[in-house]
């Protein structure tokens, strides 16, 4: 029985170690290596046959050159900032769009809720790529939206939405909306309806009751939703590359191009390491929020 337990622990453990942890260490190692014009395009690899001296040489060969390079070229820090800005703005927008939907769902009749839930989840099961792509035909210069507006005479030259940050905002709000709606909805759904009645009974107007009771009680859900949108949006690649055009700088896209177009693996790895360091902060905050919410739920 103990052998079986060992096996049960060891197999997934070893798998994750080999395919998650080790690759990670390799990224770190290459980020600290020099680039070279060969295949693979970086130099030092650890050669253990040389014994202690080769290990020493290996460590001497490592340096922060690539990280220094990241600070020197404005492309990189501009894309980090760009990612942060786009992720923050789209998180706020998603919250603004998602909250009323979640609220209305929580207010609707019991027999409607499962259907509404399914309608929110359904897009999640359809291809992410297709959902992003579906906007191309709408917002491009000769797309449906511009045709409609031109036809109605609202505008006389097509709006340039495609290949601007606005297009990226639309894409992120659209694809990540379910992640915002669901936690807010579950926070609102748990709320005791008589709390609002108590608030009104104690002299609040309906709006005040919402502001003083509903909103604070749904805060854990809102925070969870914001993190669930912000964290993946920060490293997003598909949306900026399909909708954002060449001028929208986001770090996921830069990493991709560094790797596939410039074939500069050490710099790509350094970009990845820095992106991870940036991500650690929201992830830790998110974890804290979840723990707090769990404790409050008990």
């Amino acid at each position: 029985m103990n052998l079986r337990r060992l096996f049960l622990i060891a197999v997934p453990y070893a798998w994750l170690g080999l395919f998650f942890l080790v690759p990670f260490l390799i990224v770190f190692k290459i980020a600290l290596s020099d680039s070279a014009l060969s295949i693979p395009p970086y130099t030092p690899t650890l050669d253990l046959s040389g014994g202690w001296t080769s290990i020493k040489e290996f460590f001497q060969g490592l340096d922060f050159e690539n990280f220094v390079f990241l600070t020197e070229d404005s492309l990189y820090w501009k894309s980090y900032l760009g990612s942060l800005k786009i992720a923050s703005i789209s998180t706020v927008l998603t919250l603004a769009v998602g909250y009323p939907i979640a609220y209305a769902m929580a207010q609707s009749a019991d027999e409607w809720r499962p259907t509404l839930m399914m309608l929110v989840i359904l897009p999640f099961w359809t291809s992410f790529l297709i959902r992003v792509y579906s906007w191309v035909g709408i917002i491009s210069n000769e797309g449906l939206l511009n045709q409609l507006l031109l036809g109605m005479g609202v505008i006389d030259t097509p709006l340039q939405i495609m290949n601007t940050p606005t297009a990226v905002y639309i894409g992120i709000v659209y694809t990540y909306l379910p992640f915002m709606i669901l936690p807010i909805y579950s926070a609102l759904e748990k709320m005791d309806g008589s709390l609002i009645e108590a608030g009104v009974d104690l002299g609040c107007s309906k709006l005040q009751a919402f502001w003083l009771v509903t909103l604070p009680l749904s805060r854990p859900g809102m925070i969870a939703g914001c993190f669930l949108v912000f964290i993946p949006a920060l490293g997003e690649f598909v949306i900026p590359s399909l909708l954002g055009g060449s001028k929208t700088l986001m770090i996921g896209k830069v990493l991709w191009e560094e790797f596939f177009s410039n074939r500069d693996w050490p710099v790509a790895s350094a970009v990845a390491v820095v992106l991870l360091l940036i991500l650690v902060i929201p992830i830790v905050l998110f974890q804290k929020n979840q723990e707090k919410a769990e404790e409050a739920g008990r």
């Binding site: 029985m1 994750l16 998650f20 693979p40 009323p100 291809s127 690649f237």
Partner: protein, 272 residues
């Protein structure tokens, strides 16, 4: 409870769901457009579906994607269920924190980083890129989703059921096989479906880990739509949306019975 929705709520629901579904609806409508141009509606036609079905490249990519999806999600389900069981029931063991970290980290890891790091691993161990490497990569990142789904079911699982099985003479393995597994099986199935969907859907990790002979459907779609709207892709998208919609609706109809039964169980449980 029957509450009347205010106009505000009705408006948010209408606008919200219109926002969620209109783009896909438009995509579906235009997949039946006879013209190649998005802007012009040239009448109803199934021409693009025909072209799609005769495009060997697309068919090959679809076949690769399907194989990768089935194999990787099956592996991921086995590994993820084992990992969930270890996390929830394994008690203390050496390196438990690292283990749970490795389960949850891939969920928040940007795909570009996961893809990049796996590619660097495959190169450094000299593994040629192809279907095998995509399967390995997909198994790794989807098993974490499976283990989250399964472990949340295990946490609500009444542990006295396992104790009862032991008490009645079952071995630890029998009690898992005959009691735990059948009860958590719906969660294992949803874990598999989730892993399968994620695998079918994945562009970034597959791009890093695929070789020239193993292009998956998302890679194919991505390279086609980079240049703008393509009617063939519209047709393909429509097919994929239709498959998912049918699948989800069937699943929900099937599980409606299951949920109803579960409700009855819960009610019965509360009554006593």
């Amino acid at each position: 409870m029957n509450r009347k929705l205010s106009w505000f709520n009705v408006t948010s629901l209408t606008l919200g769901f219109a926002f969620l579904y209109l783009p896909m609806l438009i995509l579906i409508i235009y997949s039946f457009n006879a013209s190649k141009l998005v802007t012009v509606w040239a009448g109803f036609s199934t021409r693009w579906y025909g072209e799609l079905l005769h495009d060997q490249q697309f068919l090959d990519a679809a076949w690769v994607t399907l194989r990768v999806g089935v194999i990787s999600s099956t592996f991921a389900t086995i590994l993820g269920t084992a990992a969930a069981y270890v996390l929830v029931r394994g008690g203390k063991f050496f390196g438990r924190t690292l283990f749970s970290g490795m389960i949850y980290a891939p969920l928040v890891m940007p795909e570009v980083i996961t893809g990049l790091s796996l590619l660097l691993l495959f190169i450094s161990i000299g593994l040629d890129r192809g279907i095998v490497t995509i399967v390995l990569a997909h198994t790794t990142f989807t098993m974490c989703y499976v283990s989250v789904v399964v472990s949340s079911r295990l946490m609500t699982f009444d542990q006295s059921l396992e104790e009862a099985a032991l008490d009645l003479g079952a071995s630890a393995w029998d009690s898992f096989r005959l009691v735990t597994l059948p009860i958590i099986f719906p969660a294992v199935i949803s874990g598999w479906l989730l892993a399968f969907t994620l695998s079918l859907d994945d562009l970034v990790i597959a791009s890093f880990t695929s070789g020239p002979s193993s292009t998956t459907l998302p890679i194919k779609i991505f390279s086609a739509v980079r240049l703008g709207v393509s009617p063939e892709i519209n047709a393909l998208s429509t097919l994929m949306i239709a498959i998912v919609a049918i699948g989800v609706i069937t699943a929900s109809l099937v599980s409606k019975g299951a949920i109803k039964r579960q409700r009855e169980e819960e009610l019965a449980g509360n009554r006593t």
